[in-house]
Amino acid sequence: SQEQIFREFLETYNRIVEECFHRCIYTFNYRYLVDDEIDCITHCTSKYVNYNQRMAMNFADIQAKKMMDMHEQAEAQSQQPLQMMNNQINDNSKPF
């Protein structure tokens, strides 16, 4: 849903703030950001966005590959509950 998408966006936003603050802000001699810190924050944010996009792309590729493998052996699988639970964990037949 639209709300779920915004939620994920905002969570990622908060995580980027946390990460880049941790990596870029070291001194507390002033109340305001100095130029080096501002540059670092800008690069850190862009890099994190690039990182996230690469992660998502890789994850999607692997899931797609698994989905194809699964389809080939779908009927051969035993359907015992515990086994099934485990299959569901590794399952990729649902597009999420």
């Binding site: 639209q2 709300e3 998408i5 915004f6 939620r7 994920e8 966006f9 905002l10 969570e11 990622t12 936003y13 908060n14 980027i16 703030v17 946390e18 880049c20 603050f21 941790h22 870029c24 802000i25 507390f28 002033y30 109340r31 305001y32 950001l33 501002i38 924050i41 800008t42 944010t45 862009s46 966005v49 990182y51 996230n52 996009q53 690469r54 992660m55 998502a56 792309m57 994850f59 999607a60 999420f96």
Partner: protein, 99 residues
């Protein structure tokens, strides 16, 4: 499809905003504790230096928060010059959600 939000969506957005501010506050609390509070517990009071550091840490954290918000918005708008479609409104395309 209209770009306007109805009142239910606005309320949900408001609740989401509060939740995210709580999340921000928790992360900031952890971050400034790590940056400012010296891990020696001989005393119960914050030192003068720790107190000043905390005040500046909160100010800087909120500043970083605002700047990154603007930066992400700019990036979103640059990547999707047209805001006509539903998909173009999806900010997860910028942050790279796996969905």
């Amino acid at each position: 499809m209209s770009n306007e939000l109805n009142s239910n969506q606005l309320q949900a957005a408001g609740e989401l905003e509060i939740e995210m501010m709580q999340d921000l506050y928790k992360r900031m609390t952890t971050a400034c504790h790590k940056k400012c509070v010296i891990p020696r517990y001989k005393d119960s009071e914050l030192t003068k230096g720790e107190s000043v550091c905390i005040d500046r840490c909160v100010a800087k954290y909120m500043d970083v928060h605002d700047r990154i918000g603007k930066h992400l918005t700019t990036m979103t708008l640059q990547q999707q010059p047209s805001l006509q479609t539903q998909q173009a409104n999806d900010p997860s395309r910028v942050v790279g959600s796996y969905k």
